[in-house]
């Protein structure tokens, strides 16, 4: 199960498992995001290509409009996945 919402500081918080069954709900949420936002992944335990695709689509849209997503508190195993897929070149990333 994936939880997605805004934290107290206005950051986007992703918690749980970001798999293919959760991608549509996350896409709907991120479609409503504008500007430059921090995404806190501290409580995200798992991500697959379905989740990566949702993040990439959001980043493309936001960068084109002059904004973007910044990923923070990224665990080492998720950071490996982001690195393998070249996401470290298209997102600003801060590890835990």
């Amino acid at each position: 199960m994936l939880e997605i919402g805004y934290g107290e500081g206005g950051e986007i918080r992703l918690a749980g498992r970001f798999d293919a069954s959760q991608a549509e709900g996350a896409r709907r949420f991120l479609d409503g995001v504008e500007g430059t936002r921090t995404v806190d992944l501290k409580d995200l335990s798992y991500i697959s290509s379905a989740g990566l695709g949702v993040l990439l689509a959001a980043q493309k849209r936001l960068v084109e409009a002059g904004g973007g997503l910044r990923l923070v508190n990224v665990s080492s195993h998720i950071h490996d996945i982001l690195r393998y897929t070249g996401f470290h070149q298209i997102f600003e990333i801060e590890t835990l």
Binding site: D19, A20, Y46, L52, L56, A57, T85, G86
Partner: protein
């Protein structure tokens, strides 16, 4: 020792699939550092079978076994078109964001995270075997 279970051809099966892999990890005392890679590989191949052969109602069978130092994962789709995941061209992951397109990352990651992928196709039965050497 091996475990095997059939799953309905639906993304909604993922929760049950992860419960199954979790049970296998616990039973075989698989290092938690290996869990994400194995779960990801299983999800990518299972969801590919769901997406690209949605017309079938046949269940997809997942088998996991530990053989000496290897973990072997076998996914069998009894009613599939030919689709060889070992023959897919890798996406360009070094492109700037405006040139990136969502998609094709799943099989790329499976190849990156697993040590061996074998594909067999016989009649309409498709079988993919993944091997990961445990550290």
């Amino acid at each position: 020792m091996s475990m095997e279970k059939a799953f309905e051809r639906s993304f909604d099966s993922l929760e049950g699939i992860f419960a199954f892999t979790g049970e296998f990890f616990a039973r075989e005392s698989i290092d938690p550092g290996e869990h994400h890679a194995v779960e990801l590989a299983v999800e990518e191949l299972f969801t590919n079978m769901v997406k690209y052969n949605a017309g079938s109602s046949a269940a997809i069978v997942l088998r996991m076994e530990r053989c000496n130092g290897d973990l072997r994962i076998v996914l069998t789709d009894p009613d599939a078109d030919h689709f060889d995941p070992t023959a897919i061209e890798a996406p360009r992951v070094d492109r700037p964001v405006e040139e990136r397109e969502p998609g094709r990352l799943g099989l790329f990651l499976v190849r990156k995270l697993m040590d061996r992928i074998e594909y067999e196709y016989d009649g309409r039965r498709s079988r993919i075997t993944l091997t990961k050497t445990l550290g």
